[in-house]
């Protein structure tokens, strides 16, 4: 159990981080990485897309280059305030919700795509959340999750273990398959100086 794998602590952490988050964010998750991830999805302008853990709306902004409307959910009102400032509080283009990734407030078989970037590392039980993603996806719908790749360096590993959930492609494979996804694949992304800092996993809900 890492320090931030506790939702109350994550909420407090983000309360203070949200003011500078978009300035820090590009170092670990930038527009080029976002574009690479978006290319893995089959998006049509009228696709029904959910962004779980939308935070300040960095991924939401990328999704809106491909679709007309995004359903966005986050637990932190402080993070959401930044997103409201970008897109406005009223849909379209974004319908905002406060909610929990592990207990989604959406009906079964609702979305064509469920996206989540930079959020899985804070979920106490990632498989529970991934099962929820599968439930709200239409049969054959796509899931895409971006998380922090487990580092190779032992010192970085110790830091990673103490802070939050990190995982490698074997662990990701196990989690997504246990959650019931098919066609599970992984891609590594990162800036030039650290090209494998993020792991992106895509999969499909069974038909």
């Amino acid at each position: 159990m890492g320090v931030l794998e506790n939702k109350a602590r994550a909420r407090l952490f983000y309360k203070y981080l949200s003011t500078v988050y978009d300035r820090i964010n590009p170092f670990i998750w930038n527009e080029r990485m976002r574009e690479e991830a978006l290319e893995l999805l089959e998006l049509e302008p009228d696709s029904t897309v959910l962004d779980v853990g939308c935070g300040t709306g960095f991924a939401t902004e990328g999704l809106l280059e491909h679709v007309d409307e995004v359903y966005a959910l986050d637990q932190s009102e402080h993070q959401l305030e930044q997103a409201y400032a970008k897109f406005g509080k009223r849909a379209p283009p974004v319908q905002f919700h406060r909610g929990d990734a592990e207990r989604l407030p959406f009906a079964t078989d609702t979305f064509d795509v469920v996206w989540s970037s930079g959020s899985i590392e804070y979920w106490p039980n990632p498989i529970l959340a991934l099962r929820e993603f599968r439930r709200v996806l239409k049969p054959g719908g796509q899931v895409l999750v971006v998380g922090p790749n487990y580092p190779d360096n032992p010192i970085a590993q110790r830091l990673a273990d103490a802070m939050m959930l990190f995982y490698d492609e074997y662990e990701a494979d196990r989690m997504f398959k246990r959650a019931g996804f098919e066609d599970v694949r992984h891609a590594f992304m990162g800036p030039e100086y650290e090209p494998e800092v993020a792991i992106t996993t895509i999969g499909r809900a069974p038909e």
Partner: protein, 64 residues
């Protein structure tokens, strides 16, 4: 939120349908009111048009 959103929302706890109570409208937006689970009765507030569907154990300490 648009009232049509109710078609895809559900109770995060037991996944049953939600009913809108005490709705306040601004143009065609629902800006206030409460979403109530038709099964367990749990209540979820709509705060300035944003449905707060956090389960009760994750909601911020409400003022006493």
């Amino acid at each position: 939120m648009k009232e049509s959103l109710l078609e895809i929302l559900c109770c995060p706890l037991d996944k049953h349908d939600l009913e809108l109570e005490d709705a306040e409208y601004e143009d065609d937006e629902v800006v206030g009111g409460t979403l109530v689970c038709t099964e367990c009765g749990e209540r979820y507030p709509i705060e300035d048009g944003i449905p707060n569907l956090l389960p009760p154990d994750m909601r911020e300490e409400s003022p006493a």
